[in-house]
């Protein structure tokens, strides 16, 4: 694969994954979490994202009322903890449903595609 192909693939993968990070955040933050912990958790679960994307994203979701935040100063290093708001829960449910529907639709697509080739 040439560099151009790799870039092209990377761009399309990024577009495909964009919304899934939002959904994963909204669902993971049912339990309050802070930025770095969330980053680790996302990576561990196979949602690759980077700091540059995650922190502005968390802030946007907070601004949209989908996340709530508070500073935790109990430990030596103060951290900003986020948790999903009721509106965020509702959105996560809707997004999950839609993702399921999409996954089903794409699965059906591949089946037809395979049938055609056979």
């Amino acid at each position: 694969m040439t560099d151009d192909d790799a870039l092209l693939l990377e761009g399309h993968l990024q577009e495909l994954r964009r919304g899934t990070v939002v959904l994963a955040c909204l669902r993971l933050l049912r339990k309050p979490g802070y930025g770095y912990g969330l980053l680790e958790e996302l990576t561990r679960r196979g949602f690759s994202t980077d700091t540059n994307t995650l922190y502005p994203l968390l802030r946007r979701l907070e601004k949209q009322g989908l996340l709530e935040s508070r500073w935790n100063t109990d430990e030596s290093r103060p951290r900003k903890f986020y948790s999903t708001s009721p509106a965020g829960h509702a959105l996560a449910r809707a997004l999950s449903d839609d993702f399921q529907a999409l996954a089903t639709a794409i699965a059906a697509l591949s089946q037809e595609d395979l049938d055609d080739r056979a």
Binding site: Y36, T51, T53
Partner: protein
Amino acid sequence: MIERDGAALSTTLTERYLHAAVRRVPEASRSDVAAELEASIADQIDARVAGGESRAAAERAVLDAMGDPDRLAAEYTDHPTHLIGPQSYFEWRRLLVLLLWIVLPCAGLGAGIVRTITGSDVPDVFAGVLATVLNAGVHLTFWTTLLFVVLERTTSPRNATVVPWSLDRLPDPRARASLADLVASLVVLMLVTGAVAWDRWIGFSTVDGEAVAILHPGLWPWGITTLLVLMVAKGALAVAVFRARRWTMPLAWANAAIAVAVAILVLVLLTRGELVSPEIVDHAFAEAGNPVVHVTGILISASVVGIAGWDTLSGFRKARHEPRGGPTSGARGTRGWA
């Protein structure tokens, strides 16, 4: 060096990175963003140090992985990170191309005529035309772009994506044409003002190697003031048409009044010989004699009357054809610059 000063260097690096990343974040949330990022960077460094890296190397690796702080800052900011966005880009391009096509040939032709009349030799005429066209092009592009940049930041609905789209929100081609009309009018008025000032203080033409104003020196200050007042009125009219989103009969009458006033002003000044600098007239027509001066005067007068008449008529025509209601008569086709 890096190894020995590792600790000091690493704090500096983090601070510098944080500063670069949050400097464009709105003041209200800046310290909050910085504190959050700082904690995150520290967490990531700790993780790498726990994995056996030196603190300095870990710091470098973490900050390097976070990437360009300007990009991070752009993610945080609410402001558009472009001069002219997709909403008005095509309008900007269409208008600019049109203005350049109209104004540059006129400016070049005008400069060529003036230089030829004042008796410059061929290379001088050529250089003058080139300089004028370049000058006009740069100004036209700059001012048009600047106006669009300002409009982009003042009129574009920031939360356009939040408002549900509906058929009623389809852009009205008339309204778009009006915006283009408005920008075009204002740019042309600015250029005319600039040209008058240029003529006064720098001079478009030279007679015997000396810069000479084309306009009669006696026009300053009252004649020019009258002209400026009329141009401001013309600009205000363009704004009024834009705000009303269409031409109305009162606006057409106001347009006619301004056009007639300009025509009368120019004609009176011309017949009294107070419009064009006598030096230019003498120089241009030194060998031609009175009949040529006479014919030229008639030609200019006819143009002035023609332009005023056309301007007046087009105002009334637009007012009559603009429907009162919504864009029901869109089939009538594009108007103005569209």
